[in-house]
Amino acid sequence: MYWEKEVEKIGQASLKKLQLAALKKTVNKAQKSPYYEKLFKDNKLNAKIVKSVSDIQKFPFTTKDDLREHWPYGFVAVPKEKLVRMHSSSGTTGRATVVFHTLRDIAVWTNLLARCMYMAGMRQSDVFQNMMTYGLFTGGLGFHYGAEKIGALIIPAGAGNSKRQIQLMRDFETTVVHVIPSYALHLSTVFAELNLDPRRDTKVRIAFLGAEPHTEKMRKKIEEIYGYKAFNSYGLSEMNGPGVAFECPEQNGMHIWEDSFLVEIVNPKTLQPVADGEEGELVLTSLQREGMPLIRYRTKDLTRIISGRCPCGRTHRRIERIKGRTDDMLILKGVNIYPMQVEKKLMEIEGVGTNFLIILEREGFNDDMLIKVEVDKKYFSGDMKQLEGLRRKIVEELKSEILITPKVNLVEPDSIPKGEGKAVRVVDNRKD
């Protein structure tokens, strides 16, 4: 039941020792990147000041903005020829954050995913259908490598094409799937259209749910529809991608792999550490990466540590499912979107007024983005064709930026209520 028993059940003292050694190594490695070299020099930091794991608090945080500002190679800590892969966070163009891996980084990441999938119950005899996008997005390739390491038969189906997904599932008797939760719900409607019942007509027994936060209620609903066990997966491209934390068969919190990531939870306002059990922002330091080590990276994800030992026997602490974000990033259909991206694009389009509002809606099992856009008063000429052209242009331009096709409603200038202070840009009406 364990992929690496000695690591997964590691004792406190051994873990601390392992983490300290790995942290020193990481600081030394990071120092070779242009960004950390300067940062450490300016702040008189180095591996020598790391006497215990808690000395991590002497180091400044790293943020997504830092990654963007030092795009593309500012965080790379090895000669470029040692890099074998780049990945990029989903949904962003131009300002995308890129992450680089060495061959060893890929191997370590692969092992972590194998550990996760094995923990949830996947074995060599399984048929694994990977319904995630392959490419820049880390979710597809990450799980593919992990499943291959376990030795399962992989169907690299990729995302979308629902009827083919169902066909593959039935033809090759898929037993394990990796799927975005909102897509799992959508797919269930396609099963119904085909007069199929996934409980009766497929052999799937395990699902890995990733790429977007979801509620316990949504998991239960998916499990109910499909008759399989669904496991929550957590990761971010800056920390490899998936495989950072994962649910065990207890399905009560995700074990965060503390041999590979140094975990801190901080108050997002004061940035001071909070006690175990208290909610805060997850901050991670990579402990095994060499291509692009990151120190005290602010994930902007809100969670808490679940205290107490897990009955599964693994000693790595558990985090609760992600409760939300400390920034304004939204996740729709597994794609990360910042309202800023929408704003920037809109303001480039002639005819767009000053204000807009993003409304996220869930109709049945389908999530949609509706954007109300104020028309520029000066642009209005009473010409319906011109307005319809503007609406279509906005849809096209946004689609190329955020990779999702929004519905766009043109509204009158000054008709969107302006809040006091910071403008309200997003209304999330999605309920589970």
Partner: protein
Amino acid sequence: MIAYQLSIFAENKPGKLAAVTGVLNREKINIRATTIATADTFGVVNLIVDDPKRAEAALSKAGMTVHLREVLAVLIPDKPGGLDSLTQLLHKEKINVTNAYGFVLEGSKTAVFVVDVDQTQKTEKLLEENGFKTLDTKTLSAM
């Protein structure tokens, strides 16, 4: 002559038209003709009124998005074939009509056909040359 059409941007929702007519009522502005074009969630209300400039000011003041658009108000006989003679001419001259609507001035005698075309000045000249009378706002409101 050139007439002015009042175009108002309007979201497609209850009460929108009432807000427009409410303002015009308070200002004692008379409406001669209306059309509404909608595309799903939004639309444009087009009005021919007796005092377009004052109407524009009042509606703008009420927070609406208004545009005064140049259109041709063509006088046609109110009898079978009255409109046809006009549209045949526009067709022959390859003039594209983007919007049009009409109203009767005096039953069985005269009607006005409002056309929004791609080349207003050229069309106006052409119509006059072919014996059509175009009305300006002042003439329209006096009728």
